[in-house]
Structures are given as structure tokens and as C-alpha cells.
Symmetry: C2
Subunit: 403 residues, 2 copies
């Protein structure tokens, strides 16, 4: 029979057909780095000790998730991000995507306005579009969101009697630009949040992946007035398929969020396993994986330099799993995406990762965490070939003129 | 600061304060039955074999979830429910609640009409209310949804040019009545589905828990025209805190559902562990746990007989983890719930588990899967005391007049 769909339904997705050979998209990580054996050992320990608690929803911890993992998150964020948080302010979620969905459901109605960074996580923007929310992009520079631009926008909105529902920011390893916001700018954002009475929603999903291990205090850590909602994840540090993220919010806001988490809890095995694994292994695991990501980033920039030369501009990567690359304006990356995907090379076109799509059609986001170094080298060479065939740039590969 | 909430937000929930001593609510199960050691062994095997695949979203299986678990579900349902399903029709979800949410998001808009059973899972009804959907309850008898009542309702709606979006049914171990719909009535429902062009949404979450192990074919199994959407779960058979359910839908409907699952997949550890554990252990595990649930059901009915006598009416339990109990009409179970909860005895008041709440304020749902037999005995005795103090019934406890 034919089903009559809701207005929320989109076109039917295609059945899964496997990943392309050169898969430079998605928040995937280095597979050999996933600590599968240590996770297995942690899981065996915790399951044999208290696995039968899974016989009830929430185990012994209630709807906010396994208490020992919430406790670890608090102690870890105190050390790494200078945050002071108690376990009752932490909600474990099915990835940070669910955290974003919950904040949006709790705060946003269609027609509301929010502030975002002009270059942005495509998934966050598409969620806002689906909700019918107006989002206004604030320009970025090499230090993240520009505070003069933010203030001007907030003033303009205030003059129209519009109070945005939140300022969404990825201050540490911004997505897609990879920048890290300095501390003084974080203080400025808090001051503007106060002046215009707009909360901040801080997404800190990549903050553990700064290659040299330094990490500024979270905006949440500098806030003394409960004006920051915060989310994080273990997707980028342990494994994305685990689907364990967390949302940090003050009460009573947390109490408004909880009834909207209608899934009766996130998976117990992930929560229990991470709670057992992380206290012993997290710091050492990060110390081991950061150089691996850094080596992949170096392979990517070397390949771009070799095959695109001056045609590919980027800031040197200092963190994370993606690079934001500017190509000559003659390159339309929406088209490059389509042509390259047909040949097994998948990248993110800049238009999808920007509030102003048309202004960014000469940019691409390249995710380097998952492919091997050899795959990065081969894939970028292939991408350069395709780009040349379509757009005549880059004109040279290494020292050799293309033809 | 004060956050301005969306219209979807409810009153703030209270912080978790632990479970009450006599906890007769929720889809919890017998804790000692959770196969924690076997799950730990299965997890160690699968993680050491292929755990690094968690380095990418969807592992090697794409957005519908770990393929070996989808394959097991197909083979298991073929055997137990006579269903013919392929893995590409199966979507693994974070519990069957997410399956319900996804079906609702895909099919329902505010103002739409759906058909439900008059006694119903409170969570399903509250989801429909939150969506602004009109639901119409169909009366139940000892064989489940009454087909004459269903036909009359569908005719009435058709006369108003209303085509319901689906018929939601729990045919096997109906919630809360515990009935099992005979095969002929399943065929009748399919005929009505066809006659009025209304799909069926079959929730089969308890079907593995029929005490004598018999299970009729699913409605899905009798359907030759792709008119049934189906969901199931391992919450009630393995452990609720695992949060592994599944949704079965034909293509292209599945393709419309997938984009609305915005969590980038459900937890990998649960999926991998179950896929490793279930083929070897599922049947034996069910054979072991059914008698445990049956013994608890017997303890519950014995306690009701002893402490409530004729004041508590129920159909003898044949399955599942809950009993639907009718008390004298003088008992208001909304009030009983409040008074008993304050004394550590928590039951579901009938009004919340019914489309027509006021007609069911003398009924309660008692979940017996989680508490021990001693807790069941003590809790029902205490409930009878409280009920007598508030309402003067039951007048006798055993052979002794209350005072």
C-alpha cells in the first residue's frame, strides 16, 4: 500500500551501498586507534560486577544516565576545561546530536531566532531549518566568532525587539574552520550574553583533539551566572559508533530537558564500559591518538601542497579531524562534489557548511581522521585530477604542468 | 539567567531520588535473569574481532544498524512469528520508543487521526497528545481489539472523509490487558486495513513472553500487501537498559524514515553484543526466564486473592510482565496512586493507561517483572491496607475482617 507521509518527511533515502573508497566526510576517526581490547576488558569487569542492574531502565542511576560516567565527566572537565560541574547537571545522551536536539526542543519554536557561526556544522544548520528557526551567521576569523560582528547583530536584533534564543558556538576547534577561540574573546562573548540576555550553547565536541594537548577553559568555565549550556562527546576521542555524548545544563533547565528525552535512556553498555575504561585510560589514549591525527593532518596538507599547490589555501591544522580549504573562485564545489563522488572521492562542499552557502561554493571541508595516510595521498591526487578536468585548476601538480 | 522555553517544554522534572521500595511500574524485568556474564563473553569476542569498526558511524553496516543483528532478527522472527523479512527492511533503534517516535514523525501531522486500542500504553498515548494527533480508542475484549467496533469506527470516520494514518495495535500480550489476539481476528484486521486503506502499526514488544512459549503469527506475517509497520525490542527479553529495539517497514517507507533518525545511529556495543549473544543463547534464555515471570505472576495473583479477595478482578495472566486489575468502582486509583506512592508503593492508575481515563479510574496496572516474589507479597499486602484505609475496600484480608 502507499503510505501518506507527514510534512516532516523528506524524499526517500537510498539503501546503503557501502562507503566510497576515498571517504573524506563525516566525524569518523582512525580505526586502528579504537581501543577495542581495553573496552572489552572494561566491559567484562563492569558487566560481571553489576550487569544485572540493566534489568531496569536507568539501572541504579535514573534518567540522566550511569552515575559513574557522569562523575568521570565532571572530574575530567574540571581538569581539562576548568569547568565546575556536578553530576546532577550532566545528562548522558545518544551522541551530541541528541544533545542538540534536546536543547532545540526545549528552547525553540518555529519563527524563533538563534545566532550561529557563519561557517558551521551542516547537521546543526539542517536541524534548525527543519524546526523553522531563523539562524543568523556571525563572521569568523582565525580566532573564531568575531565579537564586533556579534555585538552589531545583537544590537540590530534588539532594535527589532528580537531576543535570540541562544548563541551557538564551537569555540574550541571550530567546525569547519578548526580555529580555537582565545580566552579574552570567550569573556567578551559572556559579556555580550549578559548585556543582551541571550544564553550561550557551547558545543565542545573536538576540544580534546588539539594536537599539542593544550585546551583553553571552556566558556562554561568562565561563566558565573548559569548562562551556558554545554555539550560534549566521546565520539571523536573513543569511537563515533559508541554514540555517547553529554549535555550539561543548570537546574531547573535540566528538569525541563529530561521529559523531552523520550527514549527511556541511552544505551547502558556504552555508559558502563566507558565509565570503567576512561578513568584508567583516557589521558593515555588521547596522548596516543593526537599524534596519529596530527600525522594524518600533515599528510593531507602535504598532499594538497603537492597536488593543488597555491590553488588550495588553508590555515595550518592545529587540531581535530577536518580541514577547511579554499579553492580558486572558479571552482564550484557543489559540482566538484557531484563529479568526484561519482568517482569514489567524497568531500563536503563548502556551501553546506556555511550560513551563506553561495559565498562558500569555492570551499571544501576535508575530513582526515578516518582514511589512512596512503588513502589521503591517493585521494587528494585524484581530487586534484578531477578538479583540473572540471575547472582547469590546479594548473600544476607538483612541478609538472597538467594537461 | 532565566531561559525562555519552547511551547513543547513541560514543567521541570524533579531530580532523581531512587526507586520506591515497592516499584510495580515500568517495563523492568527480573534482574537476576539478566545474562550479564554471557553478554560480557559475547562482547569480548565481538570487540576483539571487529571492535575497531566502531571508528566510523554505522560501522560497516550503514545507517540501519549492525547487519548481523538485523540478520538475526529476520531469522528469529521467521521462526517465532512466521514473518518473512529481509535485513534491509529492519532498522535498529534505541528501544522501541524510538521506533514509535520515528513512525509518528514520518506519518503524522498535528490534526491527523489515528486508531488505537482503548486500553493502551501510556507512553504511546502521551506521544500522540504531544503531537496534537487525535486518537480514537477501540474497545477490547479477552481477545484484544474488537473488530466490529473497529469497523464501525472506520465507517464513521470514512463518512466524515477522515482516513486515519494508522491502526496502532499490540495484538500479542496487549498492554495493559495482557490478551493475545487470535489468528482469525488478525486476518479481519488486515481485511479492514485494506477496505479502509489504513496501515497497521503492530507493536510486538512482549510477544516472546507468553508463558507457554506459543506465539501466533504476527499480523505482519499474514500481510501480503506491505500494509504493516512492525516494531519489537530486546528490552523485555534481555534487558531494558540495553535500549535495543527495531522497526520493520517496507521500502520506500524505510527510506523516508531513515532521514528522521537524526542521532547518527544507535549504540554499537549493544548491537554487536546482542548479535554475538543471541544466536547461541536466545531460545534457551527465553525458556529459562518465562517460568520465572510465570512464578512472579502467580505470586501476584495469590497476593491479590489473599489481600483483596473478590475486590480485585483480573484475567489469569498468560504472559508478560504486567497485570490489569479492576477494583470496585468506589476506588479512585488516581488518588490511590498518590497516597500509596507517598508510602513507597507505586502502581499505574488505570486512567493513564486508557483512552477514556474517567471510565478506568477503578483499575490499576501492576508490573510484576522486576520486584522479587517477597516484595510482591509485601507490596500487595501494603497496597490493600492503604486501599482499605482510603476507600474501605477490600473489607477482608484473607479470612480476617479489616478494621
Amino acid at each position: 500500500m502507499t503510505f501518506t507521509l507527514s510534512t516532516k518527511a523528506t524524499a526517500s533515502a537510498a539503501p546503503y551501498a557501502g562507503l566510497p573508497k576515498y571517504h573524506f566526510v563525516g566525524g569518523n576517526i582512525d580505526e586502528p586507534s579504537v581501543p577495542a581490547d581495553d573496552l572489552a576488558d572494561a566491559m567484562a569487569t563492569v558487566l560481571k560486577r553489576e550487569g544485572t542492574a540493566m534489568g531496569k531502565y536507568g539501572m541504579n542511576s535514573g534518567p540522566q544516565g550511569y552515575l559513574p560516567l557522569r562523575e568521570f565527566i565532571c572530574s575530567s572537565l574540571a581538569k581539562s576545561a576548568k569547568m565546575q560541574v556536578t553530576p546532577d547537571e550532566v545528562l548522558l545522551t545518544s551522541g551530541s546530536l541528541q544533545a542538540i536536539d534536546l536543547v532545540n526542543a526545549t528552547l525553540l519554536n518555529a519563527g524563533d531566532t538563534v545566532i550561529v557561526e557563519a561557517g558551521n556544522y551542516a547537521g546543526a544548520l539542517s536541524k534548525l531549518r527543519a524546526l523553522g528557526v531563523n539562524y543568523i551567521g556571525i563572521d569568523l576569523d582565525q580566532h573564531g566568532m568575531k565579537m564586533d560582528a556579534l555585538e552589531t547583530t545583537l544590537e540590530t536584533l534588539a532594535a527589532q525587539n528580537i531576543t535570540p534564543k541562544y548563541i551557538f558556538t564551537i569555540p574550541t576547534v571550530q567546525n569547519p574552520t578548526g580555529t580555537v577561540m582565545p580566552v579574552d574573546r570567550r569573556h567578551q562573548m559572556l559579556a555580550l550574553s549578559k548585556k543582551f540576555n541571550v544564553p550561550i550553547f557551547e558545543d565542545d565536541c573536538y576540544a580534546d583533539l588539539i594536537f599539542d594537548g593544550t585546551r583553553p577553559p571552556a566558556i562554561h568555565a568562565l561563566d558565573t551566572e548559569n548562562r551556558v549550556i554545554y555539550c560534549g562527546t566521546f565520539s571523536k576521542t573513543i569511537a563515533p559508533a559508541l554514540r555517547v555524548g553529554y549535555l550539561i545544563a543548570p537546574w531547573p533547565l535540566m528538569g525541563h530537558i529530561l521529559p523531552l528525552k523520550t527514549d527511556a535512556g541511552s544505551g547502558a553498555l556504552e555508559q558502563m564500559t566507558l565509565a570503567e575504561y576512561l578513568p584508567k585510560h583516557f589521558d593515555a589514549h588521547l596522548a596516543k591518538t593526537r599524534p596519529i591525527l596530527q600525522a594524518k593532518a600533515a599528510a593531507l596538507t602535504a598532499a594538497l601542497d603537492e597536488h593543488f599547490g597555491a590553488a588550495a589555501e588553508y590555515d595550518p591544522p592545529i587540531a581535530g579531524i577536518y580541514l577547511w580549504v579554499t579553492l580558486p573562485k572558479s571552482v564550484n564545489t557543489d559540482r566538484l562534489f557531484t563529479v568526484a563522488a561519482a568517482q569514489g572521492v567524497v568531500i563536503n562542499p563548502g556551501s553546506e557548511w556555511s550560513v551563506d552557502g553561495p559565498a562558500n561554493t569555492h570551499r571544501i571541508r576535508i575530513c582526515f581522521g578516518h582514511p589512512s595516510i596512503d588513502t589521503i595521498k591517493d585521494g587528494i591526487a585524484k581530487l586534484a585530477d578531477i578538479c583540473f578536468q572540471e575547472f582547469g585548476v590546479p594548473e600544476r601538480s607538483g612541478n609538472i604542468e597538467r594537461s
